[in-house]
Amino acid sequence: MAVVQTRNLTKVFKQGEQGAVNDVNLEGHEGEFLVFLGPSGSGKTTLLRMIAGLETPTAGEILIGGRVVNDLSPRERRIAMVFQSYALYPHLTVYKNIAFPLKAQKVPRHTHKEKVEWAASLLGINHLLHRKPRELSGGERQRVALARAIVREPSVFLLDEPLSNLDAKLRASAREELERFHRRIGTTTIYVTHDQVEAMAMGDRIVVLHKGYVRQVGTPTEVYDDPADTFVATFLGSPPMNLIEDSDVIVGFRPEHFRVAEAITDPVKVPLKFRVENIEYLGAEWILSGFLVGGRFDGKKAVSRLLFGNEFEIGKTYDFAVPERRLKFFDRSTEKKVEARALAWQ
């Protein structure tokens, strides 16, 4: 059964202006880790806040557990939310922070201690219960925020970019902790982020949003290997997919599929000569950028991503190629995915 559902959900902040969220229909399944992915301004946070009850929709419905919750206040929706800044109550100890929802929901007093300690041990913060938020590190604060969210055993978790306040090193381990936490608890989770790496790593399904519209919903494999439009194609994957305009279509191919022709084992491949203008060595891989030479794509920019690149030189042209099955085609005017077609390459 769908735990969370939205139907034609729309939010317009200022009359006459473009909506922040436009006609969004989606479903979150039981136990799923659903990611809202998009750049800033894509509406992902507004969408999340409407589900939480912090923003009122302009049109459309929100359903939680099968019933329409548009008119319910946040506390009545049985959801829990972790904010980007964690929003811990600075004047309360960790224990009191976690106990606060229990107090507010008038859960019987004598059960508080037990529940708080259960939530705290799930996140390994029992030793921090008497500290105040300002004495904690970023990672510890995240765990307190999660404990406060889980203590009420909500039906849905909403997380608003909880990793973006952590520095890069911490982010990877915090991400892993979140994944383990989700596997352990199994609560349906909606996770908002602008980081496509996080989305790919953590999501069971990803909802890609752009300017308030849903561009594609799918598993990481689906959105990466079979993008619905050029936005999804370039937003996922770093460096982004190479997109080349050609008459009425846009042809796309990912940098990792654009390699030295000899190295490609696919029988059907499209030869493209490539003049290297810039070489970046990133340790685990090399990024070559430059121009295509000759043929129908002469002069167009392209980027290649290789495991070994120390034999290339700037200014020289090489024989590269792309396996034909890896080419993606998008309609030039709508930017949406279209059927593959055969093109003459010379």
Binding site: G53, T56, N70, D71, L72, S73, P74
Partner: protein
């Protein structure tokens, strides 16, 4: 959260009730000043007439009396003059001081700043007696110059504190960049920091001017002759002749001296708050 439940309607009504009650309580005296200013004496001093309406035609007599037959205009002039000069002195003393305490002196500078702020807590009602002597010794007794000399004692600490808050919010990199480009420290201060802080400086100007116009004790103590008095003291002391209160003119005088300042103050209040929360909460 969207529907207008009875609970939400009741909350909104309570909200408006509170606002209206407080606003009426706070602003009523000024409204009353307006009414009194334009009421004829016969109407004003008639116990049987409804005071909330004009039972006789409104009149400009009180205003004419105020401007024609009292020293009101002169007091306004005195106050304005003292205000301008004190603002200038305050800026000259407090802008460099605030900058020095924020940027140039590290920890002990911060502490000195707190100390200066504490002097703001030493009230005129403690210092006015010895100051009256000092003023007499300096020969400034009964002149507006006594106030010009003494007023910065409360405008300067306040201004330094406010400006410290503003200067703290300017990133250091700006001055560093200016110095890399060739300016001296002082040059960076004059050519970079001051122009950027114009909004803060303007706030200080307005608030200093307001502090000057509001002051009572020193003006009362140092100045006796009517023609040299400030408006805040002149009105209660000289417009009340013996036991006779010319209420119409009194209210007119109060109103005219209050409103322009109120407008200016309101305009700059947001900046003051910004400076206040940066400055005060951070010590």
């Amino acid at each position: 959260m969207a529907k207008l439940t009875p609970r939400i309607v009741a909350a909104k009504m309570l909200h408006w009730c509170i606002l209206i009650v407080f606003t009426v309580l706070l602003a009523f005296p000024f409204y009353w000043m307006v009414i009194t200013t334009f009421k004829q004496n016969s109407d004003l001093y008639d116990l049987n007439s409804n005071p909330f309406i004009f039972n006789a035609k409104p009149t400009l007599d009180h205003l004419k009396f105020l401007f024609g037959q009292t020293m009101y205009v002169r007091w306004l002039g005195n106050t304005a003059l003292v205000g301008v000069i004190v603002v200038a002195i305050t800026l000259l003393l407090s802008i460099p001081a605030a900058y020095a305490l924020t940027r140039l002196t590290g920890r002990w500078g911060q502490r000195l700043g707190v100390l200066i702020f504490l002097t703001y807590l030493i009230p005129p009602t403690l210092l006015f007696i010895p100051l009256s002597r000092l003023v007499a010794i300096l020969g400034l007794q009964d002149t507006i110059w006594s106030l010009v000399v003494v007023y910065p004692s409360f405008t300067v600490p306040f201004s330094i504190w406010l400006l410290m808050g503003f200067f703290k919010s300017i990133p250091r990199e700006l001055e560093d960049a200016a110095m890399v480009d060739g300016l001296t420290r002082f040059g960076a201060f004059v050519r970079m920091v001051v122009p950027i802080s114009i909004s803060g400086i303007l706030t200080v100007v307005i608030f200093t001017f307001t502090l000057v116009t509001q002051e009572f004790v020193y003006a009362l103590t140092f100045i006796s002759p009517e023609k040299n008095q400030m408006v805040g003291v002149g009105i209660p002391i000289f417009l009340i002749r013996g036991d006779v209160y010319y209420w119409g003119s009194l209210m007119a005088a109060c109103l005219i001296a209050s409103l322009p300042i109120a407008f200016l103050y309101n305009l700059f209040l947001d900046r003051f708050i910004a400076g206040f929360t940066v400055g005060a909460v951070k010590g």
